[in-house]
């Protein structure tokens, strides 16, 4: 194990997969000469050439569709959408083609593409550069959605996504590219389904994904230190399909659930996990599940307003205290 940054982990996965298979290509805005807005492809243009590390025009729907068409013939495109906000423009090709082509062709064709995008709310980027769109992707049959919370996942999920025969959407986070973490030195493939126990506990389960895993871990420390509550933190790195078994197992142990999401509450990860709790283990619950979400407003520019919209570790602690009546 050695420590590298999240962006270095993503870059390493690109490098290894490009080296492993000539049919792997990278496409996106400024992924080539520049090396990627968040350095995910730094130096790979020089190493693999402009035919395989491709600077695209600003045509999100067009180049996503082009990647899908190429994947029909065995090419394995890794498509970077510069910011997840711009993925709206590629929705037609992602949802109407990539997610459905296997089905509507009766299994004759598939679109094994990877689409990665930095998402989440960073610092004062304003309403149109701060979208949290995971909820949009995870509701579509035929598409896999994963979201790495640390460098090890960022590396291993991309590696598996490239090899997997389904279209995979990888939701990264703009604030996490400089986060350090341990990544195996040996080649490593992370499963695309399941969940991880990020911290063991017995009193309450905190469900997080991507950046909210870190808010949960921070909250769990505070709860342990200040209130003697031992929270379990479950990392939902796979948002589609969600890990029903992992969700059930943890809540069967703790009997309490709080879901922490960076996005607005409606039709989101929290709502979906609550539905699963209802379906899988309703009678295990000692308290009504709670979600800690962003406010239902577009993201403001002003820093204080921006922070007010987003949840953090303190909000998680408050939610747990309220649940326990302390």
């Amino acid at each position: 194990m050695h420590e590298i940054m999240y962006w270095e982990a993503v870059r390493r996965a690109h490098d290894e997969e490009l080296a492993n298979d000539d049919m792997v290509i990278v496409m996106g805005e400024d992924v080539g000469v520049v090396g990627g807005t968040y350095k995910a492809t730094l130096g790979l243009y020089d190493k693999y050439g402009q035919e395989r590390v491709i600077d695209t025009p600003i045509s999100e729907n067009g180049f996503t569709g082009l990647g899908i068409g190429a994947s029909f013939l065995g090419v394995r495109p890794i498509i970077e959408i510069m910011s997840v906000n711009f993925a709206w423009l590629a929705m037609d090709q992602l949802f109407n083609t990539a997610a459905k082509v296997r089905y509507m062709s009766g299994g004759q064709l598939s679109a094994p593409i990877v689409v990665r995008a930095p998402g989440g709310t960073a610092h004062q980027l304003g309403s149109q550069h701060s979208a949290r769109m995971e909820k949009v992707f995870m509701g579509i049959a035929g598409l896999r959605v994963v979201t790495p919370s640390n460098p090890r996942q960022a590396y291993g999920l991309l590696k598996s996504a490239v090899r997997c025969n389904d279209p995979v959407f990888i939701n990264e986070h703009e604030l996490m590219y400089n986060m350090k973490g341990e990544v195996p030195e040996k080649e490593y493939f992370h499963p695309l389904e399941g969940s991880e126990i990020a911290r063991e506990g017995r009193d309450v389960t905190l469900f997080g994904y991507n950046i909210s895993v870190h808010w949960c871990l921070e909250a769990a420390d505070l709860l342990s230190r200040n209130h003697g509550i031992e929270a379990e933190v479950i990392d939902l790195f796979a948002l589609s399909p969600l890990d029903r078994e992992g969700i059930r197992n943890s809540v069967t142990k703790t009997h309490r659930a709080i879901i922490v999401e960076e996005a607005e509450p409606a039709v989101g990860v929290g709502a979906e996990v609550m539905a699963i709790l209802n379906e899988e283990c309703f009678f295990e619950l000692d308290a009504a599940p709670v979600r800690v979400s962003a406010l239902n407003v577009p993201i403001p520019y002003n820093h204080a307003l921006e922070r007010a919209v987003l949840p953090d570790a303190n909000d998680v602690v408050e939610a747990v205290r309220k649940m326990f009546g302390i």
Partner: protein, 330 residues
């Protein structure tokens, strides 16, 4: 064009005409559901272009008006009809329907319902061909109204930028559903719109299969020789409404009459008769044979085929048993 080829094309186009007319009846009989877009009037486009292409090598992709392109590109008409009848024996196993005919073994890469969606898919197929060093090309058929989608412009730009082996064929039937082209499009000559992307283009009579074949031969030679994309606009007309739900009330009868005088099947028939290569009697016999074949082989197969079993409804959503889902653990 050689006489044998002309005769075969006549037979194929007549088959296409009768196939689509029979689809119309089957729809009225409620054996076909959903949306149904028919091709009568436009037969010379698909047949002329694909006659000039290399079967078994070149890739073909198109919109929802796709039955005839698939059949010309090798799909078994029985399996196409079975697909329309929503049967397990259909080309897309009854999961696709009229708008989603796929026959990948013959490199027919599908029909897509979102107007303009195949433009970038075709460019991507061409990108893969280029990476793999093949001599194949990709041929993409789309309507005139599709050219007002962003994907048209995005794809032309990328195709030229990367010199991709793709031939875009615009079947200009002058309408997008009920909106005539001059009411939706500032520049009605579609081939002119392409010049801004540095792509060679040409407008051609889409009713005369020999002319289409000639123009396509030239276009395909250009693309196959590594010179990059080409755009071929074919002027044509659809006889029926846009789909079965279209009353077709927006078109002048005089306009329809004018186009019916340039029917691709009749024009070729009359030419063969004039040249003394065929009699009216021969044509009638050919027609009878085709009608029999459609009834006794195509329709019979579709009717007798089983429906998909409901237990299979969740198949084909994701890959089955893909080890990478488990991180490479078999």
């Amino acid at each position: 064009m050689k006489i044998e080829r002309k005769k075969r094309l006549l037979r194929e186009m007549l088959f296409a005409r009768r196939f689509e007319e029979r689809c119309y009846e089957a729809y009225v009989e409620r054996n076909i559901g959903g949306f149904l877009h028919l091709y009568p009037g436009e037969e010379a486009c698909a047949h002329g272009v694909l006659e000039a292409a290399d079967f078994g090598k070149d890739y073909v992709i198109t919109s929802y008006r796709d039955h005839i392109h698939a059949i010309k590109w090798g799909a078994d008409p029985r399996e196409v009809m079975a697909e329309l009848y929503a049967k397990e024996t259909g080309v897309s196993k009854g999961r696709g329907g009229s708008m989603h005919i796929f026959d990948v073994k013959n490199r027919f890469m599908g029909g897509y319902a979102l107007v303009g969606a195949p433009f970038p898919l075709a460019a991507g197929i061409a990108k893969a061909i280029q990476m793999q060093g093949g001599e194949e090309i990709c041929i993409c058929f789309l309507g005139d109204a599709a050219n007002n989608q962003g994907t048209f412009h995005e794809s032309l730009n990328m195709a030229k930028l990367w010199n991709l082996p793709v031939l875009y064929v615009c079947e200009n039937n002058h309408y997008g559903i009920g909106t005539r082209i001059d009411r939706s499009t500032a520049v009605v000559d579609q081939y002119k719109r392409v010049s801004g992307y540095g792509i060679p283009s040409r407008q051609e009579d889409g009713q005369d299969v020999e002319l289409v074949y000639k123009a396509a031969t030239r276009a395909i030679r250009h693309v196959r020789s590594g010179k990059g994309p080409y755009f071929l606009e074919l002027m044509t007309y659809r006889y029926r409404g846009h789909s079965m739900s279209d009353s077709n009330a927006y078109r002048a009868r005089a306009e329809e009459r004018m186009w019916s005088k340039r029917d691709p099947v009749i024009m070729l028939r009359d030419r063969l008769i004039e040249e003394g290569k065929m009699t009216r009697e021969d044509f009638k016999n050919m027609d009878t044979e085709i009608l029999d074949q459609i009834e006794n082989e195509v329709i019979a197969f579709a009717e007798e085929s089983p429906e998909p079993h409901v237990s299979g409804v969740e198949r084909y959503v994701l890959a089955e048993n893909d080890p990478w889902v488990r991180g490479g653990v078999p």
